[in-house]
Symmetry: C2
Subunit: 310 residues, 2 copies
Amino acid sequence: MNEFELIRRLTHDLPRHPRVVVGVGDDCAVLDLGLPDRWVLFKTDAVVEGVHFDAGALPEQIGHKALARCLSDVAAMGGEASSALITLGLPTAFDVARIEGVYRGLNALAARHGVAIVGGETTTNPDRLLLSVCLLGSVEKTRCVTRSGAQPGDALFVSGVLGGSLRGRHLCFEPRLAEARWLTGHFAVHAMIDLSDGLAGDLRHLLESSRVGAELLAAAIPISREAKRAARERPDAKSALSAALTDGEDFELLFSVSSRDAVPLLDAWRERFPDLGLACIGKILAERGVRLRDERGVRPLEAHGYIHFA
Amino acid sequence: MNEFELIRRLTHDLPRHPRVVVGVGDDCAVLDLGLPDRWVLFKTDAVVEGVHFDAGALPEQIGHKALARCLSDVAAMGGEASSALITLGLPTAFDVARIEGVYRGLNALAARHGVAIVGGETTTNPDRLLLSVCLLGSVEKTRCVTRSGAQPGDALFVSGVLGGSLRGRHLCFEPRLAEARWLTGHFAVHAMIDLSDGLAGDLRHLLESSRVGAELLAAAIPISREAKRAARERPDAKSALSAALTDGEDFELLFSVSSRDAVPLLDAWRERFPDLGLACIGKILAERGVRLRDERGVRPLEAHGYIHFA
């Protein structure tokens, strides 16, 4: 049983509450706490030593990554982050200087995005360091973007470059809060998700929530230098395109807008964010599933990004 | 370096934000998100296998305890709980039926207190089960109670019975939400904390926040049957009174009110909650420190509940 099946099994019959605008199954929970114009965003995420970072990661990077993952989810809803609680699971023997470094990484990123660290707790997790972040944010009701609004005909966009993140980028990526705020302030974003599981997997989450399908243009997918280098160094391993589809931990924004907004969006983005790429990588279709178009034609993309060659 | 010293070191220079009414150092963070009459309460807490429960605990009890700990903190602020996120740290080999049992425990308690479980995540924590809960609640600005309002002359009260919780009560205690709401609705509660570290330790947290001291009346401290039984069974171990002062995990309410409210409060409590004890265990003093009065006189109580015999 994989993570998604387990979550489905645990959460399929949770009772509904009127204050819950969006519950399980989007980047953040969305709550109506009674504010006239805004909804509250609520998110938690954990990083575990040996799973999300290894013993060689700098302490500052561990703190940075833990908070940045949650911020990336707030970005994907079009929101702003507000306050965070930090849970430290400390191994039996821990180095105070290392934990202070973790907090320096947390604090620096929090300060850049106006996030107040308002508490947390320490607990023993005897075998390994664990860092869990709980984040509150908010978003104007008119600007909240979920995974479920993609419409047939929409153009599909992704920010930045994909693949090879585990070679280092995953420890120092900058969550796309400013970009997402600009997007929802200037364009009608129909659906959005942040890329943590890889384009192939997260696109499928967005499509399933929206009950649509998509066609990807292989040549348009922005592949990172690291993914290209990895493919050159190990020609027997996965191709650079496969890496961009499946490596995960990119923490870029994947979103759809009406096709008539596509060119104005690309032009405005290049002016506003000249140092960050934005690629139109395909289109939303009414027919379910994901197809990949390249110079040899159109083929189905398997669930986890495996490219099926007929 | 103990937990409290580490937290102090990590959080002493956190920047202040105008939306933070109460930050690090109380039972919950208190946030002003712009609601006219209410503040938002924000709390996280984790339980770890082998630390907060052992392998023999029923799965339902694990889920119950994880959420109940957070609810107890919301109670201590005089608040109501609203929404929760659940983080499951799953060991490499885990039993789906056990995790479903954990969720049954969570869901049953959440339903009783009107808490919406709005999401969460699963991660790998290879060596042991970890369950972290993040809770949102709220409280009327006029009814929010912190640790810092105790005043010299106040009467000090504790609900329930203390000591011996690890013999079983810690896995099935009911958080005192209804009692705390009733208290703040009918009396001016000056300061309140929930008892997780033991009366001696948590009283000291309340007193330090309030910059006051206290005198406890030994004969008035309500000692649980389990603590008395443990003291009978092992006369060489700690006394029943010591257990009530230091065992921890009681999750009862400790609070102070003006001395003129003491008798009306006891009378009204007995009528409203006939099945739950309320004991006046001492008084707040201007002089710092904790003193214990018994038939032999008044002596200082050491930091962690050790009773200093001159």
